[in-house]
């Protein structure tokens, strides 16, 4: 931000630092350990009067000098060069805080050079004892150099108290100073032995060579004690997030964990072979190998240290991309470009979007990533759409805590997303196929208030419901709609009838062959553990069948496998079901009605996870999207789901992420499905309102479903009014899991910002599906409007499943949904496939589309006038809200007029970057999973 960025996107600065630094430390540690090696070996030679050994020391000194003084010395300066080119801000911090430590180190460096020159050039031509004293001094200088540099390097990983005091002493003698010093001293001695082997193996005399190699093996192995002590202490002082990133979260660390671990084993195992007598050629090869392994070993260690430090270059002080922690707030407020001295432009607008994106990308991303090189940005982003990229930037550093956050304004974030997606990944905006939601005019069954004896009320228990039609890859929502019904015998005191009658259901024409449209049946056995005949759902029901008696004198048909794809090639996520009640004995038809079973495949995964729609550019989860999702899951959670699916074994998400609603399934340590989904995605979709929900759930305005049809929607309410903003919503779910000790809850919670509440403490945890917002939180005492509590359902959960809207009854046993309609489609609902499509029962029974019984229509059930609030408080009021549909006659039936029925033929224009969604899955899950896990013992 303060400095120009050296832009070498294909190479990347980080790999240059790594290359120079690793080569340097390899030799620099040798320079320390080798010092002691030389002088101790010289002592040994003098003590034993062993001239051959003395000559070996002399030849090794020359080799040592050429390696350490030339390569070691210059590459050390090289580190200074490269770090100041790649991260000048951090270099400047180190230089200015530790200027006199560097200067002190230089004094040791001078001493080191002079001592080594004397030691080498005067090997045979000075007093032996004095020579050895110079040798000791060399070692002292070299080790003291390490002492100083060690303090500065470890300051970057654990600045400790310095962060608050800014005191030199605190920064230098930081928490990892001692562990690292011990560990590095151990490395130094090991390398002394390792490099000793090079000159040893050149010795021609077999016995002497064997003796030397044995001696060097001792040098390699003796420091293991130091390595172990230092290593253990080191791990102990690592900040907890650093340790998590190192060993759990950061996929980059996995590689280097392996490199370090494997090379440690190989180094010390292969080193032992030096005890055996081989021919010289074989030994030389092994020594060569050992050197390479040694380089891998130290490279692995240094990389791990660097990775542990991420996302910082100086822990909790400065991010890897040179942005100081304390500058973040200002940048987010004012904008990055405005604060970036070396940006060629200082604000982003519609015209310079891509240019601004490129600049910010160079400034904030290139310090670690390349385009086509190491840590390549392309494979890390090319599975994302532009919207997905934007989300990724929003959530950057929250779950992948090894990455810095994105710093800048919303517009700047969009600019970077646009640049990465369009310029780097070469994606173009692809206009989606135009989908026309054809208004359908269903025939409404007749009802004669004078003659009819029965009133049949039916509803789908979930108002916003999806199916995942990508079973080939994974699955979480099978086709499964559950329809309820209550049959009421009209009279002075109407009764809910549950015996002596039989209720049948039948889907409308066009939806009767679901097996032709989704791959559910092909994978049902693998995914759900249920062997199903085509067209048969998980509970054995087909799209046409008989309902079963259920609680509250109701009837139910569970898991009807209906899809939005019709046999005529059209898409309509609102199939109408005809429910008919018969006298069980006589078969006489008692009542008939129609209800809508929402079943959308407009799940917006593809909004972010590149891949488009599966079905005709209209809806469904495409293969590419599915694969992209699995690969993200594999990368972040160390799974192998993609390979599994590719080999024909797709999984059910809930086989690991159980659902609390069913009290079974899933793995104990794993988050429940709802917490995992919302908890993860909330980190990426924060700062939004209902549009965040619509990105996934089928409710995008102008989309193919617009599933929030309830009268609430007409008032402009969105999902967040009942469920809370995405972040708060997720937090409530996560907190529930966190309290049950699920380890990954914390990871998702730790950086999740809150919106409507101040702290996590204020969030009421909730179990998904069984604890939803209580309608009475706003409709206190059944008042129409909230009574001073504000329109905010968040945090006001029902205590348990029996109190849910869809499970509850009034004081007379009539279920809430019987009169008010499906959740999310509460009567006086509006449907894009025909305005009154969800209101067929109110229209059938009252001629208006409002709550059953509204506007003093008590006579739907009651044959006498009713003057009091019989079912719940506040039923009879001054102002009734309802809509009068325009009706016309059609073959003797009442039919909605086209104009009124259709919302003027809604048009939509999907683009790749437009928001869309997939919502229906929420409600369905409860029932579905309950049954699934109980009955079919899903994996």
């Amino acid at each position: 931000m303060n400095y120009p960025i050296w832009q070498i996107p294909a190479t990347g600065g980080s790999i240059l630092i790594a290359t120079i630094a690793i080569l340097h430390v390899f030799i620099a540690h040798l320079a320390v350990g080798g010092g002691l090696y030389l002088v101790l070996t010289e002592h040994k030679a003098v003590r034993n009067n062993d001239n051959r050994l003395l000559q070996y020391v002399k030849s090794h000194t020359r080799f040592f000098l050429l390696l350490t003084m030339v390569f070691g010395g210059v590459s050390g300066v090289g580190i200074w060069f490269i770090i100041s080119l790649v991260n000048p801000a951090a270099t400047s911090t180190l230089i200015h805080n530790f200027v006199f430590a560097w200067a002190t180190e230089w004094v040791f460096f001078v001493g080191e050079i002079i001592a080594l020159l004397i030691y080498h050039y005067r090997f045979d031509s000075m007093n032996r004892k004095a020579h050895m004293t110079v040798g000791w001094l060399y070692f002292a200088f070299a080790w003291l150099s390490l002492f100083i540099i060690n303090g500065i390097i470890d300051f970057m990983l654990t600045p400790g108290e310095w962060l608050t005091t800014n005191e030199f002493v605190h920064g230098f003698f930081n928490p990892s100073f001692l562990p690292s010093l011990i560990f590095r001293t151990g490395i130094a001695f090991t390398l002394a032995g390792l490099f000793g082997m090079i000159t040893a193996v050149l010795t021609k005399d077999l016995d002497f060579r064997a003796q030397l190699l044995r001696y060097n093996v001792k040098w390699m192995y003796a420091p293991i004690v130091l390595l172990l002590i230092g290593g253990i202490l080191y791990l102990n002082v690592l900040p907890a997030p650093a340790e998590q990133n190192l060993f759990m979260y950061n996929p980059e660390a996995n590689t280097f964990d392996s490199v370090f671990f494997i090379s440690s084993i190989l180094l010390f195992a292969l080193g032992l072979t030096m005890l055996l007598k081989f021919n010289r050629k074989a030994q030389s090869v092994i020594v060569g190998l050992l050197i390479v392994i040694g380089l891998g070993w130290i490279g692995g260690f240094e990389y791990l240290r660097e990775i542990a430090r991420k996302p910082y270059v100086i822990y909790e002080y400065m991010y890897s991309n040179s942005i100081k922690v304390n500058e973040a707030e200002k940048i987010n407020k004012e904008g990055y470009l405005k604060n970036a001295k070396w940006a060629p432009i200082h604000e982003v607008n519609d015209e310079n979007l891509l240019e601004a994106g490129e600049v910010i990308f160079a400034h904030q991303c290139l310090s670690c990533h390349t385009v086509g090189g190491y840590n390549d940005i392309i494979p890390r982003t090319d599975h994302l759409t532009e919207r997905g990229m934007e989300a990724k930037l929003t959530g950057l550093g929250r779950i992948e805590t090894y990455m810095p956050h994105f710093f800048g304004t919303d517009k700047e974030r969009k600019a970077v997303a646009a640049y990465i997606t369009r310029k780097i990944n070469g994606k173009k905006e692809q206009p989606g196929k135009k989908h026309i939601a054809e208004a359908e005019v269903p025939e409404i069954p007749p009802f004669d208030k004078e003659q009819d004896e029965y009133v049949l009320l039916a509803w789908n228990d979930l108002g916003m419901h999806c199916i995942s039609d990508n079973s080939r890859w994974f699955s979480f929502l099978p086709p499964a709609n559950t329809i309820w019904a209550q049959l009421i015998k009209r009279g002075e005191k109407p009764q809910v009838i549950s015996s002596g009658v039989e209720l049948k259901y039948e889907v409308q024409e066009g939806y009767r062959n679901p097996e032709k449209h989704v791959p559910f049946w092909k994978y049902a056995e693998k995914v759900y553990g249920a062997k199903l005949e085509p067209g048969v759902g998980l509970s054995g029901n087909k799209v046409t069948g008989t309902m079963h008696p259920n609680v509250h004198n109701s009837f139910i048909a569970e898991f009807i496998p209906v899809t939005p794809y019709r046999d005529d090639g059209k898409f309509n996520p609102y199939p109408a079901f005809t429910i008919t009640a018969y006298n069980k004995e006589t078969g006489e038809k008692l009542a008939m009605t129609k209800a809508i079973a929402p079943t959308s495949t407009e799940m917006g995964c593809r909004n972010c996870h590149q891949g488009g729609w599966r079905w005709n550019d209209v809806a469904g989860i495409a293969d590419e999207t599915s694969i992209n999702i699995l690969q993200v899951h594999d990368r972040l959670s160390n799974t192998n789901l993609y390979e599994q699916a590719k080999n024909g074994n797709p999984v059910l998400c809930q086989s690991c992420h159980g659902d609390p609603a069913i009290g079974a399934g899933g793995k104990k340590e794993h988050l429940n499905f709802s917490s995992a989904m919302h908890g993860f995605h909330a980190n990426y979709l924060s700062g939004m309102s209902g549009d965040a929900c619509n990105l996934c759930h089928p409710n995008t305005p102008g989309g193919t479903t617009e599933c929030l049809r309830s009268r609430h929607a007409e008032k402009g309410f969105n999902c967040t009014l009942c469920h809370g903003k995405m972040e708060d919503h997720a937090m409530a779910l996560l907190k529930h899991e966190d309290e049950r000790g699920k380890p990954s809850a914390e990871r998702l919670m730790q950086n999740l910002p809150l919106r409507g509440v101040e702290s996590v403490k204020q969030v009421n945890p909730r179990m998904p599906w069984l604890q939803e917002t209580d309608c009475l939180s706003c409709h206190v005492n059944f008042d129409v409007m909230s009574s001073g509590r504000g329109i905010d359902g968040f945090n006001r959960w029902v205590a348990g499943g029996s109190e849910l809207y869809r499970n509850r009854t009034d004081t007379h046993g009539v279920m809430c949904a019987a009169c008010h309609g499906s959740p999310h489609a509460v009567y006086m609902a509006t449907n894009m496939y025909g305005k009154e499509r969800d209101n067929m029962q109110p229209i059938q029974y009252m001629g208006i589309s409002g709550t059953i019984g509204t506007n003093k229509n008590c006579d739907v059930c009651h044959t006498i006038d009713m003057k009091f609030n019989g079912h719940h408080r506040n039923m009879i009021k001054k102002n009734y809200k309802y809509r009068v549909p325009v009706l016309k006659e059609n073959k003797g039936q009442q039919v909605l007029k086209d104009k009124e029925a259709g919302n003027e033929t809604a048009k939509m224009n999907n683009t790749n970057t437009s928001q869309s969604n997939a919502l229906a899955f929420i409600p369905a899950l409860v029932g579905i999973l309950f049954f699934m896990f109980r009955k079919f013992k899903v994996r």
Binding site: N2, Y3, P4, I5, W6, Q7, I8, L66, M69, V70, F71, G73, V74, S75, V77, G78, F81, I82, S84, L85, P88, T91, S92, T93, I95, N97, F98, V99, F100, A101, W102, A103, T104, W106, V107, F108, F109, V110, G111, I113, I114, A115, L117, I118, Y121, R122, M126, N127, R128, A130, H131, T133, V134, L137, N166, F168, V169, K341, W342, A362
Partner: protein
């Protein structure tokens, strides 16, 4: 625009004069050592191509490289301390050629060793290595001059926006070549003096050779200094007028320093022609010191109102400075002690 682009400096732990003085002192030492290796390499190559035997003093080149690098470290440190924001910026602008200094230096350094080990054994390899080393030394000098001039000219930094890939050099800078040649010719002069000094202490050398090499060294010094004076004047007048006028009466200190420098240079030429080694050993270091100080004053003049190291925020922290001073003194003593050990005679048994 120019002011906006200059990065903000970090805080200082001790008064900036500490860094300033240490910068100048260590740079002076680095400069002298650099002169020895650059000039020495050129002499050796000259001899080599003239078919003369390689002189003894040439074999100290690798050792001198070691010390030159070593004494290059503190100036590199202190320039970052008080001019970091300028130095980092210019380095990044020319990152590629600048970073290449490192691998080239390693190559050149090894080249010098190959030259030492192969002289008399493999003439082509020895000479080839030295050619390579010398070219690399000249390259490094050119890069340093590029960087040192580019860091002074924030108004030229907009080249970054045309080319952020780090492959810029300060080509348009009028002082670039005069300055570079001034340094390189100076290297030849001082290396000549160094050669004389070397043989002065090498009393075991054949007296005739010793005498002729000493004379030759002083002569090179004298002639190179004549060229140096001319180059110095050119260099002076390629500076922006507001800066060179400081030396011509615009500023008392600047003027006095350049006057003394000029007079001493003339004196050095005369003493050189007279083969007066002892007086040259006094005059030359003074000239060098004056040149180093003037170089710094030019830097201050370039920054003018934009910046002085005094602008940096001071957060005093003298503990580490004390540590350095103590270690520095101890280091000096230990170096002295090691040199003493080096000269300690062998015991009878060892003989």
């Amino acid at each position: 625009m120019i002011l906006q682009i200059i990065p903000a400096p970090d805080v200082l732990p001790a008064h900036w004069m500490w860094s300033q003085v240490l910068l100048l002192v260590t740079f002076l030492l680095h400069l002298v050592l650099m002169n020895f290796i650059v000039g020495g390499s050129i002499f050796t190559l000259w001899d080599s191509f003239k078919g003369k035997t390689v002189k003894n003093d040439a074999f100290s080149i690798p050792t001198l490289i070691a010390l030159t690098i070593n004494f290059g470290v503190p100036p590199l440190l202190f320039v970052q301390v008080i001019y970091g924001q300028f130095f980092y910026s210019s380095s990044i602008l020319m990152a590629v050629p600048w970073l290449l200094v490192i691998p080239f230096l390693i190559l050149g350094y090894y080249g010098a060793y190959i030259f030492v080990y192969k002289t008399g054994k493999n003439k082509a390899l020895a000479r080839g290595s030295l050619v390579l080393s010398t070219l690399i030394l000249l390259y490094i000098g050119f890069m340093l001059v590029n960087n040192s001039t580019l860091m002074l000219r924030p108004e030229r930094w907009s080249m970054y926006f045309e080319n952020p890939g780090g492959t810029n050099l300060n080509w348009g800078e009028p002082t670039l070549f005069p300055r570079y040649l001034h340094f390189m010719t100076g290297a030849i002069a001082i290396a000549g003096l160094g050669k004389a000094l070397w043989y002065y202490f090498r009393k075991k050398t054949e007296p005739q050779e010793r005498d002729s090499e000493m004379k030759r060294g002083i002569k090179i010094f004298a002639y190179a200094t004549v060229v140096q004076i001319a180059l110095g004047i050119i260099f002076l007048f390629t500076l922006p007028s507001e800066i060179y006028s400081l030396f011509l009466g615009g500023n008392m200190i600047y003027t006095i320093l350049i006057s003394i420098g000029f007079i001493l240079a003339l004196a050095a030429v005369i003493q050189g022609l007279k083969q007066q080694l002892r007086s040259l050993l006094i005059i030359a270091p003074i000239i060098l010191a004056i040149m180093v100080v003037m170089r710094e004053l030019v830097r201050h003049a370039y920054f003018g109102d934009i910046y002085t190291p005094g602008d940096m925020v001071l957060q005093p922290e003298y503990g580490s400075l004390t540590m350095f001073l103590v270690v520095f003194l101890a280091g000096l003593y230990l170096i002295y002690y090691m040199l003493k050990l080096m000269l300690k005679p062998k015991t009878d048994i060892e003989r």
